[in-house]
Structures are given as structure tokens and as C-alpha cells.
Assembly symmetry: D2
Homo-oligomer: 355 residues x 4
């Protein structure tokens, strides 16, 4: 178990830096015989792609994925699937300041403390660019779990939340914010614009729901479904909080209010609520899986912040370069991908143990 | 990586059910030469032990731990350390109802869906009793990281939070709630008593701080320190949310407000804030590590709840047996243990890669 | 993946020292619903048990196994199965010499070099006593693969081999050597007796065959069936060589002689030979799996050998204590167990990926 | 732990097929700050490269490796190192027969049995072409263990062995067989030529020695150095046997003859023999590590062999295409690479546990 792999039997490994020649992923353990081509992956990458609106970074990356192995005559062979995206629009010179001084909140100082030096160009390995490969791997994972539908959206930006009463899933792909509430989407245009113009950035909350997961995936403890999801989602750049079901709100409830009461149903029980987010005792119950993730605001901002340089002297840093004013927005397809990757792995693990 | 193990090079495996003859853990990868005896572990178990006040379950378990291997002449040998606690006070007959019908919110239904049947006595493997072995393993982990001090406390019960202005660490061990705010502790006496008498239960929020972690532990992505902590803490029974640093609150901040600005300091920089909870880019910064966990209310309650039985018929269940009215309280030493276990593993991993 | 665990999804962890209070194993990932009690395990332990003839160590150990978890009402629950054997007949005083000086060929010097000190009593963790737990775990593994029959035997002792023409499987359990050739068994009585009386020891070659493995278990490369078997068998104390099928003899063959030609058969092809030992490209072919293991002679011998003591001074050592004159003999049930453990794991892995 | 990765903390994953666009490896867990460029890797690939003499396959592959990540300004950054080689000289049409019928001894039948279909072009994933990436990853591993020198050679071809008395390490790179005995090299010219012309193939035995390994690397049992080496080497295509030290010959020795007696030495003991191959109790002793591997003869031969086709009908197959008459020869740099990869991993693991 190494540092850049995730999963137990359906497993992927990513590599690459923001300003290196390419980024890539190796997906291992994929079942054989699954119809797979670049066209199954590209739409998810396009959803995450930078430069598509003024609310995301202006870096222009086609993010065209290539499958280099593991597929023969249009089907997965069961051997490792190598995915690669060449980096196109690097402007490394933008980062000369980052080489010298540390951006507060960013990985700069911690990387130097750990490794002694770092690839500072565009954040190197710590760049959110890595998440493109999670999205690509996640597209493969989705094919392993065709019974499951995964949808994520932005629930709040900079503390301004959607109105659950206005939730409309069909709106999510109609605005640049993956926002299911059209009124919130309008407010966010101005909110994000203002932050961008002010050289600032905003945090966001992403919610994700997976329907179609049968009862029985997961495990009692260290691979419990909650824990695997938390691990996967917390491993995304900028995420600092994860909730399953009601999460922290459940901590304020009484037992009888938090209980997801059951009634007899067709084939499966009918649940009267879903406080648990579709997971009880670490194992799926057949209800929709519900997860939320907190994305902190982008650390690379134009607003000058007090810091130190590599020699330990006082400095001030204002990060030029092209950055997302709200990195959480493009986190939506990434959260979906991680949920898909966890569920594909759990499906295969369940099959291993329970036949 | 299997279902009942945790960690990468400092690794432990737990086994045992609530009403079996014993529970245990195997701690593997412990460095040799560490002074270790039962006396190093027992105090942490005593802190978690049931039956010590009317605010926890009345099951009487001495929880006396035995070391069965891996220690010779008072020191760890580098080989696996086997820890065992015999179960003493089982009253399996209390659980006849649980055998027949599913407690909403509990693992009962999901276990049956996954495994086809289950050990229903006291919740079997899904019982919080398993956490005793995490506490025991965590006590060993603490000896691997003597430079680190870990302290957890209850921050809120049933939605009633402490006043941060009254935080006093020395109060934590002076009340049955691990509460650092004496006024909140008084309120909670009544709150928990009322819930207990009403046959209900309450959720809780636990906070934990680890000081003394040097800059550089962790990894950029899938083993990032945030992700390892989230995985470990979310694997604890009843936990449904995890935050690192400001967590969800960070999602409402602007970039300049979330930045932990730095100034030149002695040996290490002086940080002006710690929104990131001591972790940037997945790697420790040298600041205190800060984590929070949301515990849902205990699912086993006396208040009757609508449910189904094993045959799918409508039923109502009121769980007799002895249960914690607020399982989060005894979660305090468990959260501390998981943080210790993650940090011990990360220390050794850092040493492996960075010498 | 830690130091004392083996397997990927069907996984076990052993713990314990030769002269500690007990030894044990945790079997994790076992499918639920399998009928399992101590009576399924004990016969295999009895086969390996010391003190049953004058050709093995005279240590008297009943090796009575207890199941401490993971089984409810006679069936596996899918949660970890904890197995424990209490040590009964330790005579630690026999080992005072071993504490001071290093037995050549034994782990003594290497342990001190690695860990700085060691539990010298009976070899501590390096004792072949650990293999009892492999046998116990292997008995569980056999229940996971009821379609497979595994049989091992001794093929040679001290260079004196059986005559393949006289191979009779029904003889294996009729002599104290697990020898399928009754004439060889007679010769070995004298051979082993002479070595024992001379204070010497003998090496042995063990062969093992598993029939009933369907085509398709295994993987192309790093988890190829050959590699998993080699890893498992080479991890047994005293083993220094492993062969699959013809092994080293295949290196002397020409391609057309080594080819296992195929003819049409019922359901599966008819193979005209089995040079490959039932594995091609890392994957089972449906033929019998054939493995061989070389056990070196026991390193603990009465014959004095030149060595150094812990301080680096010249010394001579003659190991008293009770030792097997030919540790390979009792390796027979251990090799069977490791083959069972590998195959159970591979069966579940195959099911995970290929449904 | 998935199917195409190897190692625990210094870990690599390979991908790619014989006739796909490229093959590659991701090396994860490499320490930071190591000087590394393509020039450090290419010489080892050149040693393994096909088409360099008439004794290897005539496929012309420049095997030019590119580093795509993990290196910045000439030094490893501590993040994953992606290595890629583009395939140049594929002639997939040569394999139309292989698509239809199974080569006995090859992976063809087993792959179809497992996956339902296969990429037949050049053997797909089962091609020895994959070993190029082990050699590339191994070149990185060597930089992690500069204290170790690893040398492999061919010890026998088709049963014709070198004369140990004529062993001369400086000869190894002076002939196309990596043969340390010039007289044997001369004999092998004729032997291999004859086999090639006859449309046959030959097996080989490879020996490898690693000097400079300090005492203390390894682990007592499931990650014992013998076991890790056996696992790694047995995972190489065509290998069917592995020996550590005297291997099977040790099984014919008496205890006192197999003992590697010790005398006081400078800093470390002086060993009077090395039957154990530098490993006792799973841990290195400071002596040279000695390993041997048996390579079976290439399964793809021109000599017609009886077989069945994909539909189960009787057939005969003579494999055209370009194949090594003795695949063991090019196994020499591959064995060296696997030994380097195991030792690098073990060095870091030892550092993790023992500081």
C-alpha cells in the first residue's frame, strides 16, 4: 500500500505534476469484457476541464485522454488500464514567486519540510490538476457499477447555501456552478465574480448522492463504507471535512429522531428516513448513499498575505498565475469520481467475500 | 489490506465480538526496544471502561488487558504484539428481541443483507466493545510517538456546545463527560440523565488535538494525513462526520481569511492561525493537529421505533439491554487512540521514505 | 501489508513466540456461513504436533486450538476468526547458551543485528512453533475451497529420495515420515535415527499436489499463482527453495519437451503432460497444481559448531533443548496449509474480478 | 494490494502489452533528492534490449525510456516516478495463428479461461516485454541502495552448466550470454544456434549475487527476505523455480555441514561459509545475498505441437513471430532488477521499523 494508490481490489495509481509533460493513472483490477473507449471517459473530463467559464481557472487544457493499455478490440482485458493526458498550457514562469516564498494554506512549506525541496511549478504534485486522473479513473469505475447512478452538486459557496425546497437535479448541468437551485446560481455569479475581481477566493460545500447501491456493500469496521468514502474524499485537494448522511447534524439529534424507521416493502424494506446516508454498521442498506464534502477556499490568491521565504525571512506573497476563484466548483466531478471508485472497489470486495 | 486491519507499516488488526469469550488486537510493525507492559495500556482502557458512571452503559467489564506476545523482558521485540481482554459480563438473553427484528440505525439489517445471518448478541462485531482494542493498540502507538501529546474532549452533546472561552484542559478528566467547560458539564448531567430516563439517546461532537507533531509527516494524496485521520476516525462505530481544522466552517471563508499566515520564528515559522488544523497539502506543518468527529446518538434505545422483523413483517422494537445514553462520551479515548495510531504509522512511513 | 500477515482478501495474521503464554492467528475475510468448529482444525494440528514419534522433537504440546471469535452457532459470520493455542511445555532454561552465543544457520545473529536484542527462549518468534498457526489457519482455508484436495509428502530426506515408481498415496499417513514409498520410509528410520543419535540433523524435500483447482485462478504477474505459492512456501521456516511443476528440471529441457500438449477433452482439454505444475502465465490451467519445497537441516544441533558470542568473541555452541532431527518432516502439513491459504485467497480474488 | 504492483513502501506498478502503443511503470515511494535522469536507466534497458545478437529475438526495439513525472531539476521529488517506453516494432499479423489456437506452455489457454478473451498480439500482457519496465524500475531501485552491488549471470543453458572453477565476473559482459565462463560461452553459441535453427528453445538457470547488504534487512516471516525474493523472482515470466543460497542442495546436507560457522571479525563476524545465501531467519546477515532462478524454455516455438483451438477442436500449432530461443538469457538484467527492487523496499522498511 503506497502513497499514490487507492482501492483494495479495484485499485488505481495516479502520477504527474501540474507542469510536467503529462499526468496519468493506472487502473488495476478492472473486470474483463467491459466495453471501454476514450469516449466513455472524455465527457467526465470535459465536465471538470478548466477554462470553460470565467468562474474557473483560465488555463486552457483540452484534457484529451488516451488509453495506452488494458483494452483490446473495445473491451477491457482484465489487465491494467493506463490512462494519460498530456499537459499543454503550462506557464511555469508565473510561479517564480512561489519558488521563493510559501503560500500560506498551500502545500509549499510542508513539502519543503518533508522532502527538502519541491517542484514549485503550478504546485507540482499538490496541484488540483491531479484530480483529472481521478475523474478519468472514476469514469472506468462507473462502468463497473452500471446499477449505480452518482450525482454531485454544489450546495453552498462562501457560506451562501441553496434552498433545499428549490432543489432541481435537472438544473445542475445548466449553470457553471453545478448548482441545483437556479436562484442560488444567480447569486453565486456575482459572489464568485466579486471574489475573483478582489483577488480573493471562496470555499464550497459539495453534496453527492449515489442511488442503486444494493444492501450489503461495505464492511463492519476499518473498510466500512463510511470510512472508505471519507478516506477517498478527504484525499481530494482542499477538502477539510466529510459527512455521511446527516453528519454533524446527527450529533445534535436524539436516538428516536435519528432512527431510519423501516416498514415492509417490495423485496426490500421501505425506509421512512435516511439520516444514516444509506450506510448502517459500515454496510449499505439499499437507500441512497449521501456524502458531503467541505472544500476550503483556494490558497493561491492575488491578495497579499504575510509569509516567510525559503530562507525563513519575512515576506509577503500574492500568487499570480491562473487559479480557480472557488476550487470547490470543479470538485463536483471529482467527488463523483471518488464515490464511483470506492463503490466499484466495494462491489468487487463484496463479491469476493460473499460470492 | 483486509477488513479488520488498519495502518500501513505500524499496523493493527482487531478481532472479537461483544458477547464472545474475548476480544483482541495484534499490533504489528512496532519498533523494537520500547519499554512496554500492561501498565502502559490499562489506564487508557480504564478511561474508556463502561460502568464507571450513570452516564455510560451499566455493563461491568474490568477490561483487564493481557500482552500475549511481542514483549520480552519488558521491551517490545519488533515482532507482533498480541493483546487480549476477556469478556466477563455478557447477558446475551437481553438480546432475544434483536435477534428477531432490526434496530433502525443499527447494523442489524445491513449485516443480515450482507452475510445472510449475524451474531446478534450485544451487536456482535458491530458493538462499540471493539473500540476497547483500538484503545489498547493506541496505547502502544503512543509509545512510538513520545514527542506527541494527544488530548480529546467532548465539545457538544445533543447540540449543546461548550463555550470556547471557558475551555480549560485541566477540567477534562474532572467530570464524567470529558468536558473542558465546567458549566457545560453541569448542564450535560441533566441533559444526559433526562435522555437516559426517557429511554432515548444523544449524539455528541468530539474534538482532538495533537501537539508536538513535527513538520513533514504525511503524504501528498491518498495517504495524506487528513485522509488517514478521516479514514481512521470514520471507522469508529457511530461516527458520521470528520473535520480537519476548520472543516466545514472553512467552506464559508474567503481565501485571505483561511490563510494561516507565517512569520519568521525560532527553528520553525510562527503561524498566525491554524485554520488548516496543522496539515497543508496532506503533510503536517508543525502546528497542532486538530480533528473533530460527529457521533450519532446510540441506535439501541428503549423508545419503541417502527421496524421490520427478519421475515420482513412490520414490527416495533424497544432495545432492552445496557446501552450508553450517549456513545460519544466514551468515544473520547477512542478518538485519541485512532489519532495516535495514525500518527505512529505516519512517523514510521516518513522515516522509511525520508530517512 | 505488514510483516506478519499473508494474503490479499482471504488474509491471516499470526502472533506468538515459542515460549510465550500462547500463539495465535487471526483469519480475516473468510466468507460467511461456513460450518466451522475446533473439530475442523484439530486433526491438521495433530498431524503437525510435536512429540508423536522419536523422529520429531520431544516437546509435548497438545496444541489444542480455541476459536475465540468469528463463529456463531457453528458457522463463520464473515468477521475475523481468532484462533489461539496455549503453550504448555516450555523449558526455557534449556536455552541459556543460545542467549549468549549465536547458532550458525539460525536466526540468532540476524535478529540481534536487526532488533538490537531478541527473545532467545526456544528461538522466540523464529521458532517453527509459529507454523502451528499456519496449519490452523490453513484448516479454515480448506473449508473455503471444498472443491480442492491438497496432499503433501516427503520426497527425500538427507538426499535419499523416494522411488517415483513406488509412489502410493495411501502410504503417506502410515509412517512417521509422511512417506509415500514404504521402502524409503524404512531406510529413513535408520537415517534419521543415526542423525539424531549423532547430534546432527537432516534436510528434506517436500512435494505437494492440489487437485480440483479450476482453470482461471491467479493473475498474470505480481500475484501470479506461481509467485503467490513461492512467497507463501518460502516464508516457512527453514525453506530455501521452491519449485513449481518441473522447476529447475525444466531449465534443462527443450521447448517441445516442456510443452504440455493439449487434446480435446470433456468440458476441459486433456493435457498430455504437466511440466508447468498446473500453472501457465500465472493462472491455473485446471491440471493439478504441483509444488516442491527444500527444507534445510535443523540449525539447532548438538554437534558443536564454531561461532561467536553476543560480544563478538570466539565461542563454540552445541544446542541442547529438544529439536527435530529433520524439521522438514513436520513441514508436510505446513506446506499443505500454505497451499490451501494461497488457493483460498486466489479463489476469492478471482471471484472479485471475474464474477 | 492489486495484481500489477510489487513492493510495500518502495513500490512499482507496471502496465502495457506487447503490441500496444507503449509500456510503462509507476515507481512510488522513492526517497526524495536522488539524482535521476533517463541516462541512469537506459544502460540497464540496453542490456536487456532485444535484437542485439542472433541469440535473442530479432524484434527491433530501441526501448528508449522517458521519465514523465517525479523528477525536478534532475532529482527525485518523492512523488511517483512515471516511466514509459513506446513500442516501435510490432508485427501483429505474425500472431493470427495464436489468436485461434493455444500454444502449449504459454498463457493463451489460461487467459481465455480466466478472462473470457485475450489480447493475443505478441502474448499481450503475458509477453516478456513487460520485463523491460521491471528493468527500468530496478534502475531507480539501485539508486536507493548505492551500498549494494548486484550481479547476475547465466549459470546453465539447456542443462549445460558453467564450471565454477572457471568463474570470472569480468567475462559476464563480454559474450552474448552473460556467461562468466568463456568456455561455456563458446559451447552455448553452438547449443543456442542449433536450437534456434531447429525451431526449438532452451531453458536456463540464472544466478544472482548482491554484495554490500548490511545485516538486518528483512523480517522474520511473511516478509522474510527469502520470501520477498522468491515472490519477486517467481513473478518473472518463465521462471518456475527459485533457490536462496544452497536451495535444494541444502536439503541433502547434514546440519553441521549446512551451518555457516562464524569467527570474530572486524565490525562484523567472519563467516566460514554461505550456505544460507546471506539470509538467516528471514533477515540479512551481512554476507552476499545469493539467489538462483530456473527459466523454462520459451513456449513459442516453430516446432509443431499438438493443441486445441479456441473452440476446443484438435489442432497443431507452430508459432511464427520473433522469439528468443532462450528467454533466460535476457532474464539476467530482469533478475538483477527484481533483486534491486526487493532490497530497496526492504531497506526502507527496515528504516521504518528500526530507525
Amino acid at each position: 500500500m503506497s502513497y499514490n494508490s487507492f482501492g483494495r481490489v479495484f485499485r488505481f495509481t495516479t502520477w504527474g505534476e501540474s507542469h510536467g509533460p503529462a499526468i496519468g493513472a493506472v487502473v488495476d483490477g478492472c473486470p474483463p469484457g467491459i466495453a471501454l473507449s476514450e469516449a466513455d471517459i472524455q465527457p467526465f473530463l470535459d465536465k471538470r476541464r478548466p477554462g470553460t467559464s470565467r468562474f474557473t481557472t483560465q488555463r486552457q487544457e483540452p484534457d484529451a485522454v488516451r488509453i495506452l493499455s488494458g483494452v483490446f478490440e473495445g473491451r477491457s482485458t482484465g489487465t491494467p488500464i493506463s490512462l494519460m493526458i498530456e499537459n499543454v498550457d503550462q506557464r511555469s514562469k508565473d510561479y517564480s514567486e512561489v519558488a521563493k516564498a510559501y503560500r500560506p494554506g498551500h502545500a509549499d512549506y510542508a513539502y519543503d519540510a518533508k522532502y527538502g525541496f519541491r517542484d514549485h511549478r503550478g504546485g507540482g504534485r499538490s496541484s488540483a490538476r491531479e484530480t483529472a486522473m481521478r475523474v478519468a479513473a472514476g469514469a472506468v469505475a462507473r462502468l463497473v457499477i452500471p446499477e449505480v447512478t452518482i450525482t454531485a452538486w454544489v450546495e453552498a459557496i462562501g457560506g451562501d447555501a441553496i434552498d433545499p425546497a428549490r432543489f432541481d437535479a435537472s438544473e445542475i448541468d445548466r449553470n457553471p456552478f453545478f448548482c441545483p437551485d437556479p436562484e442560488a446560481a444567480k447569486r453565486w455569479e456575482r459572489l464568485v465574480d466579486d471574489a475573483r475581481k478582489a483577488g480573493s477566493s471562496l470555499g464550497a460545500v459539495i453534496a453527492c448522492e449515489a442511488t442503486g447501491v444494493p444492501a450489503g456493500w461495505g464492511a463492519p469496521l476499518y473498510a466500512k463504507l463510511d470510512s472508505e468514502l471519507a478516506s477517498g474524499i478527504m484525499s481530494i485537494n482542499a477538502v477539510k471535512g466529510v459527512e455521511i448522511g446527516d453528519g454533524f447534524a446527527a450529533a445534535a439529534l436524539r436516538g428516536e429522531d435519528n432512527a431510519d424507521a423501516m416498514r415492509p416493502g417490495e423485496g426490500a424494506p421501505t425506509f421512512l428516513a435516511n439520516h444514516a446516508g444509506g450506510i448502517a454498521g459500515g454496510i449499505s442498506t439499499g437507500q441512497p448513499i449521501r456524502v458531503r464534502a467541505a472544500f476550503k477556499p483556494t490558497s493561491s490568491i492575488l491578495t497579499p498575505v504575510e509569509t516567510i521565504d525559503r530562507k525563513g525571512n519575512a515576506a509577503e506573497i500574492a500568487t499570480r498565475g491562473r487559479h480557480d476563484p472557488c476550487v470547490g466548483i470543479r470538485g463536483v466531478p471529482v467527488v463523483e469520481a471518488m464515490v464511483a471508485l470506492v463503490l466499484a472497489d466495494q462491489k468487487l470486495l463484496h463479491r469476493a467475500q460473499c460470492g
